[in-house]
Each structure stands twice: as structure tokens, then as C-alpha cells.
């Protein structure tokens, strides 16, 4: 079978999901109403609450949720064959992720733009909110640790990505200066910035950087991980306009270009899928497809992280409630497209089955490396760009995704540490807070040896935690639907499925980790299991309460919102 069919069927499923299922959700379940004053209008302040054009908002939402996860997860999961990964990505995006992301946007916009954490306090109880903080901290920790390892792996397997990846930092700093200091037109700056980035990719391709072994008493892998953590620490401390903002922007533009290149090349060259549809001969030590498939691919099928973005920033900028369909559901479709591209690259980008098997010789071996080599081959065949340059383009794309998420993750974790300090009455400054985050992150990464393998071993734990967060969000959506006496089945099916898979995987891993005597991860997994059971009990209690209480009037939110809207004098 050629990848073209996989691509076309995938695109058709995602398109049908958007055209049909999201319309059903918008009109029958969420009943999105453009006349409802969204928080962006109710509380308009020109800072957080700003009505935003839906295409721009979609761009923000999509680039915020797209990190390295929709590439890493599917590129690892194809070890069970391309078919299970393909089905989970497409059906997951259509029935789970779109429903979840749009639901989080709707729930938050009906509650003055509050975050899922605050909503869990209101709909599930104070304990739900505490749980949310624990889960979000663990999730950020895993992102920071795992992405550090992903990037160092790419630097070593594709040394030509070193110059463009670090050079992108310089480009971002210059872009920030051009815009804020010299007031140069943004469009012009963008063109110059992106051209400079691609020029660096060509330079990097000609001058690959391979570090001597040892370097400063460390192996190259260890050195890169330490360097990345130091970078993330510094980036998270600098004023945002200096580095983070222009870097995220250039990265966002590069994301659209990179996706265009990969999809265009697949359409033109249509390489064969050399990997088996269903892999009967998985390497020894590969865990069972059930439940691991459903936690290995988290982002790209369903991801709790999306709910935090939906309710954290996107919901405060919705111009009309109806836009939630495009921003939320189509944002999930964007992630699905990225995951689909990763599946094609990691299964169709090899010449023979033997080549593919050589890469996928053990669980976790394929990953983003397979995406880069496989995708590079497809881009070479489709667009005629030399193999090594194509691989460098994709490796740089993956590094930039992971790095921008990593530096933002360090910044967000520092906020959590500072908030936790406030709770216990200790004032934590930003330097101390960042140092705490870096020590914990490095500790986790090196927990299984100096090669940083601890960072990658926690990957399935990332999936588990992420799915748990998704279950928490879906339970809030379900409680709201039950209170309004609308059919909650569309939320309950993904909720139960995701919850069962996450808990099953967590328990499964607990045994394996205990056998390996990896006590740090055993402890983290233990916390996740307790949190999962906690979510289930709290959510069931909240749903029973919602069902026994009198039905909420159909226009309850609207009346409350309009009352506050008019009282605020902004109408």
C-alpha cells in the first residue's frame, strides 16, 4: 500500500470529522451560540481578554499545543505496525481530541474564561483542584526531562541540526531587536528571520557538529542535556520579548512551512509503506499494544495538555462562541495532521522492511530519529531536496518544537514552585525557583544513568499523566452537560476509555519499574495511580450530584454572564 492512500484516507476522515461530528457537537451537545457574550467581550481588558480573529486564534492555539509529542508518540507506536497507530490517531482525533478540546473551550467560555483547574474546584470540588496542581506539575516535569533527551538524541543522530538549532536562538534575538528596538515592519522581519533560519539549515548541513568524546569530562549526550537545561533556565529568566516571544513566533511560522513540505512531498512521491500494517514480530521486551498504544500516542489522539491551553488562554480570546468549533476542534485536527505525518515518515520513509526493522529493533528505538530519517527520504523523493538536507530540515523542526516547549515548561514550572512556596509561606525568588526546577529536571533525566535514559523511560508515564488530565477535563464537561440535562454520552465514552487505558498502563508500568528497582519512577507512578483513582471517585460523585440536583435552566450561563456583563458597564 502506498502512503498516498493512507494520507488521503486520513485526510478524508479528519475532514469528515470536522464537517460532520464537530457540527453535531456544536449544535446538539454544546449548543454554541454566537449571541452569547464571550469572556473576551464580557471582561475585555486589552490584556488577557481580547476578542481575536478566529484564524489568528487557531494559529496561537495550534502552535501552543503542538510540541514534539505528536511526533515522538506516533513514531514510537508504529512498532506495533502502522494500522493501530493510524486508527488511534484518526479516530482519536475525530471522536476524542476534537470533542475534548472544543469542550474545554466551551466549558471555560461559559465560566468567565476560568482555567480547567478553577473549574475542577467548582464542578468537582476542592480536592479536584489540588489534584490538578499535582498532575500539571508532573506533566511539566516530564515534558522538560523527556524533551531534553529527545533533542540530545537528534543532535547526535543528525549532527547537521546543531548549527540551525542553536542559530535559531540568535535569529530569534535579532528578530526581537528588529521589532522592538528598530521598529522594522513585522512582515519584512518575518521574511528575513525565516530566510536566515533556512540559510542556517543549509550551513548546518554542510558543517555537521560532532562533539569530541569526552567533552568537559562528559559524554556528548550528557553534555547536550546539561547545555539544554542551562539554556532553558536562562531563556525562562530573560524578559519574554528578548527571546521567548520571537522564538515561538519564528517556530510557529516554521511549523506551517515544515508541515507543508512534508505533506507536499508525500503527495508527490507517494512512497510505499514498508512497515507491516500489524507487526506480529515485535522485538523482545516490547510491551503489549493494549494499553500502551493509547498512552504512547497522547498528543495527536487526545491530550490533556490541550485542555490547559484551551481554558488558559484561548477561551479568553474567543470572539464568538461559535468560533470554538474552528479553534478547538480544528486545532485538534492540526495535531492529528502532524501525527499522521509522523506515522507516514516513520513507516514509508524506509527502502525495505529489513531497514525498518533494523531501526525498530527495540521498544522506544524508533521515535523521532525514525521521523527524521524516514521523513527526510520522503522529502528527498518528493521535492528533490538532497537526503541529508531534508533530514536536517525535519530534525531542526523537531528540535525547535521540543526546545520551545522545554523553555516554556521551565518557566511554567518555576511559577508552580513559586506558588507552592507562597502556600507554605516561603517567598521563592525567580533565580531560586528556576534553580529548583533545573535540579529536579536534571535529577529525573539522570535518574537511570548519565546517558539521560531516565528522561525517555518516563515517556509512557507522560502519556499516562496527560490522559489522566484529559479524563479530568472530560469529567468537568460531562458534569456540565448532566446539569444542563443534555446527552453526556459523547463525553462519557472518551472519558471511560481514556481513564481505563491510563490506569491500566500506570499499573502495568508500576510492576515493570519495581522489577527494575527504579524507585524514583516507581514513586512518580504511584502518585499517578493514586491521582487516577482519586479522579474517578471524585468525578463519579460529582456526576451523581449533578444528576440528582434540579436541572439547570437552559439559559443559566447566559443570564449569569449577561447580568455581570451589563453590571460591568461594558455593554
Amino acid at each position: 500500500m502506498t502512503s498516498l492512500w493512507l494520507l488521503l484516507i486520513g485526510l478524508a476522515m479528519l475532514a469528515a470529522g470536522y464537517a460532520l461530528y464537530s457540527k453535531f457537537l456544536a449544535t446538539k451537545i454544546y449548543k454554541l451560540d454566537d449571541a452569547y457574550p464571550t469572556p473576551a467581550h464580557q471582561l475585555s481588558d486589552g490584556v488577557d481578554y481580547v476578542p481575536t480573529n478566529k484564524y489568528v486564534l487557531w494559529g496561537h492555539h495550534f502552535t501552543s499545543v503542538a510540541g514534539a509529542a505528536p511526533i515522538v508518540g506516533p513514531a514510537i507506536a508504529v512498532i506495533w505496525g502502522w494500522l493501530p497507530a493510524f486508527l488511534w490517531v484518526t479516530l482519536g482525533t475525530v471522536f476524542f481530541a476534537g470533542m475534548h478540546d472544543m469542550g474545554a473551550l466551551w466549558a471555560s467560555s461559559r465560566n468567565r474564561g476560568q482555567s480547567i483547574g478553577m473549574l475542577s474546584g467548582r464542578y468537582i470540588g476542592a480536592r479536584g483542584r489540588n489534584l490538578f496542581l499535582v498532575v500539571i506539575f508532573l506533566l511539566l516535569l516530564m515534558v522538560v526531562a523527556a524533551f531534553g533527551v529527545v533533542i540530545q538524541g537528534l543532535f547526535i543522530s543528525t549532527p547537521s541540526s546543531v548549527i540551525p538549532a542553536w542559530g535559531a536562538i540568535v535569529v530569534a534575538v535579532i528578530v526581537g531587536q528588529m521589532i522592538y528596538r528598530y521598529r522594522i515592519n513585522l512582515l519584512l522581519t518575518t521574511v528575513i528571520g525565516v530566510t536566515a533560519l533556512y540559510a542556517l539549515i543549509i550551513v548546518g548541513d554542510n558543517y555537521p557538529v560532532e562533539l569530541p568524546d569526552p567533552i568537559l569530562g562528559m559524554s556528548p549526550g550528557t553534555f547536550w542535556i546539561v547545555a539544554l537545561f542551562v539554556y532553558a533556565g536562562i531563556a525562562s529568566l530573560l524578559p519574554v520579548w528578548v527571546l521567548l516571544q520571537p522564538r515561538d513566533y519564528i517556530n510557529g511560522v516554521q511549523l506551517f512551512i515544515g508541515l507543508g513540505i512534508l505533506y507536499g512531498a508525500t503527495l508527490i512521491s507517494a512512497p510505499d509503506l514498508v512497515a507491516p500494517a500489524w507487526n506480529d514480530a515485535v522485538p523482545e521486551g516490547t510491551p503489549g499494544i493494549l494499553p500502551l498504544l493509547f498512552v504512547t500516542i497522547a498528543c495527536g489522539a487526545i491530550s490533556g495538555f490541550h485542555g490547559t491551553v484551551s481554558s488558559g488562554t484561548s477561551s479568553k480570546q474567543l470572539d464568538k462562541e461559535g468560533d470554538a468549533r474552528f479553534v478547538g476542534y480544528f486545532g485538534a485536527v492540526g495535531e492529528g495532521l502532524l501525527a499522521l505525518g509522523a506515522i507516514i515518515a516513520a513507516t514509508a520513509g524506509f527502502k525495505t522492511l529489513a531497514d525498518w526493522e533494523a531501526v525498530y529493533s527495540a521498544f522506544g528505538n524508533g521515535g523521532v530519529g525514525a521521523f527524521v530519517t524516514g521523513g527526510g527520504a520522503i522529502v528527498n523523493e518528493g521535492l528533490g531536496i538532497p537526503v541529508s538536507l531534508s533530514a536536517t530540515i525535519l530534525a531542526t523542526m523537531a528540535v525547535l518544537f521540543a526546545a520551545t516547549t522545554m523553555d516554556t515548561g521551565v518557566r511554567l514550572m518555576r511559577f508552580v514552585v513559586q506558588e507552592a512556596g507562597e502556600v507554605v509561606g516561603v517567598k521563592v525568588g525567580k533565580w531560586i525557583g528556576t534553580a529548583v526546577v533545573l535540579v529536579i529536571g536534571l535529577g529525573l533525566t539522570f535518574s537511570a544513568g548519565a546517558d539521560g535514559s531516565g528522561g525517555m523511560r518516563i515517556w509512557p508515564l507522560f502519556g499516562t499523566t496527560n490522559q489522566l488530565l484529559a479524563a479530568l477535563t472530560l469529567s468537568i464537561v460531562a458534569v456540565m452537560l448532566i446539569r444542563k440535562r443534555r446527552n453526556p454520552v459523547a463525553a462519557l465514552i472518551p472519558l471511560v476509555f481514556v481513564f481505563v487505558m491510563a490506569l491500566w498502563a500506570a499499573i502495568d508500568q508500576f510492576g515493570t519499574l519495581a522489577d527494575d528497582k527504579d524507585w524514583l519512577l516507581v514513586a512518580i507512578d504511584g502518585v499517578i495511580i493514586v491521582a487516577a483513582i482519586w479522579v474517578a471517585v471524585e468525578a463519579v460523585m460529582a456526576m451523581r450530584r449533578a444528576a440528582s440536583e434540579p436541572a439547570e435552566p437552559e439559559d443559566a450561563d447566559e443570564v449569569a454572564a449577561r447580568g455581570e456583563y451589563e453590571a460591568s458597564g461594558t455593554s
Binding site: G46, V47, D48, V50, T52, N53, Y55, V56, L57, G59, H60, S64, I179, L186, L187, T190, P239, V240, W241, L244, Q245, D248, Y249, G252, T313, Q317
Partner: protein, 87 residues
């Protein structure tokens, strides 16, 4: 919509795409800078000797509009200056 208008709309969208995610952080940084500036300008009036008072006093009328929000932000419910009865 003419081509020119379309182009303008695209540039506006790009601007929004650039600034949107960081609007809040940038505004907060700007406000902190403004607060520091106000503290310096008002230092003499608040009883802190200021060698640059001769220059900064001229700025007083320009900052009065911001004065009320500023004193509330730094934790003073009522105006700390007797001759400014903003609240």
C-alpha cells in the same frame, strides 16, 4: 475587498499572531517599568531626597492621570500625597 486591503488584513493578522500569546506578559513588564518611573518622579514629593527633582517636577502633571492606579497597585489604599486628592 481590494488586494491592498487584503494585504493589510494579512499584516494585521500576522501582528496579532506575533503579539497575542505574550500580550499579558509584555503589558505586565511595561507596567512594572512605568511604576518604577513613577516612583522615581514622585520620590521628592514622598519625602525621599532626589537630586534630579528639579527636572522630574516638570513631569508631575503628566503622571497625575496614572497616579491613582499606581498608589493602589503599590498597596496604598488612599493617596499618599496630601495635595493630590484623587480618592
Amino acid at each position: 475587498m481590494t488586494l491592498r486591503e487584503r494585504w493589510r488584513a494579512f499584516a494585521r493578522g500576522l501582528e496579532e499572531f506575533y503579539a497575542g500569546p505574550y500580550r499579558r506578559t509584555l503589558r505586565r513588564a511595561q507596567r512594572e517599568e512605568d511604576d518604577l518611573f513613577l516612583t522615581v518622579v514622585l520620590a521628592e514629593a514622598l519625602g525621599v531626597p532626589d537630586p534630579a527633582a528639579y527636572q522630574s517636577v516638570e513631569l508631575l502633571p503628566a503622571v497625575y492621570e496614572e497616579f491613582h492606579a499606581w498608589h493602589r497597585r503599590i498597596g496604598l489604599d488612599r493617596s499618599p500625597l496630601e495635595h493630590v486628592g484623587c480618592c
